[in-house]
């Protein structure tokens, strides 16, 4: 004996979850086509079937999107990310090859301001890809990440890591964070 209102809610929830999964399905189909290196109807159909099967079998809780999207700030983020990746890679390479040994490392706690899991994950991924820092531990409840930073000579170097992380976070929040997060990162 289910109540009709309850049933309607359930149906709405199901529809919402399908809408939430659409970006993921789209991304999986694109990935499938990239793997084959060709865009064709056969690839589209087999890709769609596989994507649905994969998302059903390996079910993940849907990612909460804020509904905002600003391509300009996303482009700035991607640009800055690759520029820093390029510079930092060679810095670490020279650090390995120079005669002097590295001085000191640090484990830095960074208090993020966003409440979004997705943004926190991307910030953590981006900072892990930057040579010179990787995420050693994270605290999702308090949105904190702990970064292991290479060769921080003094407290200024520690502060640099923190500023860099928060800067990336702000760019991401501006590109697809909620209005709430934008307000919070402004401070």
């Amino acid at each position: 004996m289910t109540e009709p209102a309850n049933e309607r809610e359930l149906r709405q929830e199901a529809r919402a979850s399908i809408v939430h999964q659409l970006p993921l399905l789209f991304a999986l189909v694109v990935l499938w086509m990239l793997l084959w290196g060709a865009v064709s109807w056969l690839n589209l159909v087999t890709g769609l079937i596989l994507a649905v099967v994969v998302t059903r079998v390996f079910y993940l809780p849907p990612v909460e999107l804020s509904g905002r999207f600003n391509p300009f700030w996303l482009a700035v983020f991607v640009g800055q990310f690759f520029a820093e990746l390029f510079v930092a890679s060679f810095q670490v390479a020279f650090l390995a090859l120079r005669p002097r040994r590295i001085s000191k490392n640090s484990i830095v706690e960074v208090q993020l301001r966003t409440r979004s899991d997705l943004i926190m994950t991307i910030v953590a991924l981006a900072m892990s890809l930057m040579p010179g820092s990787f995420v050693i531990e994270s605290d999702r409840m308090r949105s904190r990440i702990y970064l292991h930073a290479l060769n921080t000579k003094d407290l200024e170097g520690v502060e640099d890591v923190r500023t860099k992380t928060l800067q990336l976070e702000r760019l991401l929040v501006r590109s697809f964070g909620s209005l709430d997060d934008i307000e919070r990162t402004r401070k």
């Binding site: 290196g37 484990i107 706690e109 702990y146």
Partner: protein
Amino acid sequence: MSFDDILDIVSAVLVLGGAFLTLAAGVGLIRFPDALSGLHAATKPQVLGLILVVLAIAIEARSWTTLLTLVPVVLFQMLVAPTAAHMIGRAGYRTGDFRPELSLVDDLADDIDLATREADRSPRRQRS
């Protein structure tokens, strides 16, 4: 010098960059003092190295399709390298595979310390 020759040289230089980063990763592995700093040398410069080599392959094949087929390689590596670094780094931190005297600041140890002390205190308060 034709346009083809220029492309050949560009791709050779890109490959040279990738090789340099690989060499640096190996040397860093030997020379950095503890496992956690070795992890920096290991995983990251090679992501850029991979991007450079992938560009070189696409230029040498003179085809956009090749570049697009290679996008998943870079994508996988970019998703997977941080995960591996995090898992190994965390395991290394917990097994004590790093030299504490090398760290200037260790916020994590402070916070773990604080958390353990809080956890020690709270059950006692409940029991009384």
